[in-house]
Symmetry: C2
Subunit: 213 residues, 2 copies
């Protein structure tokens, strides 16, 4: 048994600081991310928790200009539909938000959950099959923190038609689309979310009220 590490008060304060500064980033510089840094992030992603140790995450990295344009077009269509569905008093705020970094992010990743994987042998999924998808989401949450610790920004784009993403990227039939991630050096950094700063949705205390039974 390796001796267990102790995480001291200083580290824990820095971890809290990291969590406070982890933002959904949509404004990127275009200069590249070094491949060894990306490799180290992908390596860390592998040790995320997963149901039954199923490790169901699959990545497709989108580099070709044609594929990137397809994803961007997908976003633009979905975002225009979302914009059209806003009430008149919200449409102005919605229009001011920048909701994706697809125009500039040097690294763009589609993340999937492989529903055909036999890894994990179904353990922990009998009553909650959604645990497989959740495992991929948890992995992304860790990647997000590790990226920010390296000075990178990550933005999760969900204003996309999943079926069209899968088709554009020729994803295997068993892949469920979970997330499209933009990754790169942020143009600016903030401790408050863009959606708070632009008046879309404040932080609230609702999730902090713990009911005890």
């Amino acid at each position: 048994m390796t001796p267990k590490p102790v995480f001291d008060a200083h580290f824990r304060e820095e971890l809290a600081e990291l969590m406070r500064w982890r933002r959904d980033v949509r404004r990127f510089r275009t200069d590249p991310v070094p491949e060894p840094l990306l490799d180290s992030l992908f390596d860390l992603a592998q040790i995320a928790p997963s149901v039954g140790n199923s490790q169901p995450w699959r990545f497709i990295r989108v580099e070709s200009p044609g594929k990137r344009a397809e994803i961007r077009r997908n976003f633009e269509v979905c975002n225009a539909e979302a914009m059209a569905a806003q009430s008149s008093e919200r449409a102005g705020v919605y229009a001011r938000l920048k909701l994706a970094g697809l125009d500039a992010a040097p690294v763009q990743l589609a993340v999937f959950c492989d529903h055909a994987t036999e890894q994990g042998l179904g353990l922990g999924m009998r009553t909650m099959p959604e645990m497989l998808d959740y495992s991929v989401v948890g992995m992304i949450a860790g990647l997000w923190l590790a990226a920010r610790a390296a000075g990178l920004g990550l933005g999760w784009v969900s204003i996309l038609d999943p079926a069209r993403v899968c088709a554009a990227l020729d994803a295997p039939k068993s892949y469920k689309f979970i997330a499209f991630l933009c990754l790169g050096w942020p143009e600016e950094e903030h401790v408050d979310p863009e959606l708070v700063r632009y008046g879309w949705q404040d932080r609230t205390e609702e999730g902090r009220r713990i009911v005890t039974v």
Copy 2:
């Protein structure tokens, strides 16, 4: 604008160490977790990313012996069913696994996603309504790391019938059950997952092969 923090190489190495040592813990000591420590973890949980800044996580803390017994019984029934569904060659391994810390964990939490919340105003959810649930999952991933940094173990129990959990805890109708979490001081610590150690599922490289298009 607050000056942005810089996370140095030492912090990043410690963060990677934390991720390596973050385990799904099922073997707990019964001594209590100080309430101020729990409070600090719940505070940190609030700053997790969420779609549209919807902050849809809701917690029910289970303290009463009767409610705890109901959850434990729920697990035992579901686990017996899962055990019965194993092939003869896997049943022996399955039986040796300890899959929940419900017998001893001093803190037990049901975590839900409030599908009735108006927070976030639907932003980012039009084509992917599952983003609301994913936001709760991402919050748990951060809580997991923060708990481990404080020396606590966290175990995510999914071998439960969600409908029976909701009924047992009188959860509001709009709450979707996401996770049951056991939290406490671990009895033992390992850098390798229990499912690897007991021969259920090894780590693989499948999720590490990044396809580029």
